[in-house]
């Protein structure tokens, strides 16, 4: 074990050896115990930092929102007035806005993502059609949120406005419904990719057994594939919901930014994420800022819980 860094490398310099050489200098030619300890310490520190970032996030949000927590307590969740001028902050309009827009998006997204999952995982597992669809879904997942928002603003809003004129409701164009539409487009790839994976993993024996009993493809999907993949599909939907809850930019650009309880499906509204995006830099006064941070805290907790539950479903499916 007596080889020091310099002897081993024979003096040749390579970029790849740089971290090793730096460690070697610190070890100063002993048997490498020093490097060993330093290396393990670095790994340990990095692991602690990862855990620390999450813990510190929670603590920071708690400290930041303490003023608002103290001032409003539980009524922060039930208050319907958001009035920075008189310093009254109730977040119910944003909770409702977030819940309605994300659930509506989920509702729109489910048939499409289920269809894509079945298309790729069961009906057409190979071939050019499947490759094209798969690449398209991956592209859809890669497009930045702000570009979805921009497109929705210029292309989707006029369409919704036409629809509203046709329906005889005030033609804002922007509002909850438009936000849900663009959210649905954005979350389809998440639930579809998880759905595809679990559906593709349905054991062939089960399907073959059903076919041999005279089942049609539809029967097999309904009675074998879907029951088998149920928890995985649920997980995909939950994870997509988590995405929809925290999605900021696209929603901010088309939801209309009205800090009141939405009165209908088309009314301008605000979500938790969009109100933070809109008002954080303009928040004057510590109570105002603190209230916005409390909304951030709620958002953090909700998405963390939804995701941990989603991952739990996936794990349960992986073990059975």
């Amino acid at each position: 074990m007596g080889t020091s860094a310099e002897q081993y490398e024979g003096g040749r310099f390579r970029i790849a050896d740089l971290p090793f050489r730096l460690l070697g200098k610190l070890g100063a030619g002993d048997d490498g115990a020093m490097q060993e300890r330093l290396f393990r310490l670095t790994l340990l520190l990095a692991a602690i930092v990862v855990v620390g970032v999450v813990a510190a996030t929670l603590v920071t949000l708690l400290i930041g929102s303490s003023a608002s927590l103290k001032a409003f307590g539980f009524s922060f969740l039930t208050g319907t007035t958001w009035d920075p001028v008189s310093g009254v902050f109730g977040s119910l309009p944003f909770l409702v806005g977030t819940l309605v827009s994300s659930l509506l998006a989920l509702l729109i997204c489910i048939p499409f993502s289920l269809a894509i999952s079945l298309f790729l995982g069961e009906l057409f597992r190979q071939g050019p059609a499947s490759t094209i669809l798969k690449s398209a879904v991956e592209l859809l997942a890669g497009i930045p949120s702000v570009i979805y928002g921009f497109w929705a603003l210029l292309a989707l809003v006029p369409i919704v406005r036409q629809l509203q004129i046709w329906l005889g409701v005030p033609p804002y164009g922007v509002g909850l419904f438009t936000a849900s539409l663009i959210l649905a487009v954005m979350i389809v790839p998440y639930s579809a990719s998880i759905g595809r994976e679990v559906i593709a993993l349905t054991p062939a024996e089960l399907k073959e057994a059903a076919y041999s009993l005279g089942a049609t493809r539809f029967d097999v999907v309904r009675r074998v594939v879907l029951p088998y993949a149920r928890s995985g599909i649920t997980a995909g939907i939950l994870l997509a919901w988590g995405r929809a809850l925290g999605e900021t930019m696209a929603v901010t650009m088309v939801i209309g930014n009205a800090n009141v309880l939405p009165s209908g499906l088309f009314s301008p509204s605000n979500t938790m994420a969009s109100v933070i995006a809109n008002e954080f830099t303009e928040a004057t006064g510590s109570l105002y800022l603190s209230s916005l941070i409390e909304i951030g805290l709620l958002l953090f907790l909700v998405t963390a819980v939804v995701n941990v539950i989603g991952k739990f479903f996936i794990r349960r499916w992986q073990t059975t």
Partner: protein
């Protein structure tokens, strides 16, 4: 189950297949629309002048996005500098000490961190960096993006190291190679392609992020190389210009969108090539 005629069941089956295909095709129509509009509107404003000049005030013709391109590059560089070494080291720790209590909490933290809405990460970076330094800065934007990148890299590193056979490590250790050299010179190099994939995925994830930059990097209409000052980025510029009432700024936003889409989708494409070309096989 009641007996039904085979014709009815066949019909039902065909209707089902048609439904699935129809819905699948319908769901990629928005993608076609988005890509078409970005290409159609973006190509018009895209030229060399656009890439190398600074934005002009409303009413003046021309102007470009050079400051945003530089800003996005600088932000990605800063975030990578912070997140890549940390993420790789954490991933190595989790895979080397799987089953330990710290690894359990670490993996949970990675999961949570991946799920944290980007706007909340903006708040965090604001509280950690902007507030103590009393100024919006490129550095704070880099920190925000690094927090988003960290879990991606830690996760992919850990997943990749799982694929490296234990015998490889044993062979090195049996030859008397110290543990840390085994990891640095044997295990990590053989996992290089997976780690590279993680880095590319991480960069692709943060390149298009706007929300965490709203109150950290903040935006800046001038060219800036100073990490202590506010800086423009492509997504921020698109957001500000797209929500402005001026058609001329919309044109610039389309051009910037095209540049950003090419960047992000290009990164995704490279990632796919890397995974396909250097698949880890033993």
């Amino acid at each position: 189950m009641r007996e039904r005629s085979i014709h009815l069941r066949n019909l039902q089956n065909q209707a089902f297949v048609v439904c699935v295909v129809l819905l699948s095709v319908l769901s990629i129509i928005p993608l076609a629309f988005i890509l078409y509009q970005i290409l159609h509107n973006g190509i018009a404003s895209l030229n060399w002048e656009f890439l190398v000049s600074l934005p002009r005030p409303v009413g003046e013709e021309g102007g470009g996005i050079a400051n945003a391109i530089v800003g996005t590059g600088l932000l990605i560089f800063l975030a990578s500098l912070l997140a890549i070494p940390m993420g790789i080291a954490a991933g190595v720790y989790f895979s080397e000490n799987s089953g330990s209590r710290l690894s359990y909490w670490g993996e949970l933290s990675v999961e949570i961190l991946q799920a944290v809405p980007s706007i909340v990460i903006g708040i965090i970076a604001y509280e950690w960096v902007v507030k103590p330094l009393h100024s919006f800065s490129a550095f704070s934007g880099g920190v925000a993006l690094a927090i988003m990148m960290l879990p991606v890299i830690a996760r992919t590193t850990q997943e990749t190291l799982k694929l490296i056979p234990y015998s490889l490590k044993e062979a090195a250790l049996a030859l008397g190679v110290p543990y840390w050299r085994t990891l640095l010179k044997v295990v990590l190099p053989s996992a290089l392609s997976g780690i590279l994939t993680g880095i590319l995925l991480g960069i692709a994830r943060i390149a298009g992020e706007t929300a965490p930059l709203l109150f950290t990097a903040f935006g800046n209409p001038f060219m800036n190389w100073n990490v202590a000052r506010p800086i423009e980025s492509l997504p921020l510029l698109i957001f500000n210009y797209a929500t402005s009432p001026y058609p001329q700024w919309h044109t610039i936003a389309w051009g910037a969108s095209l540049v950003l889409v090419i960047l992000v989708l290009g990164l995704n494409l490279i990632t796919r090539i890397v995974t396909a070309r250097w698949k880890i096989q033993f």
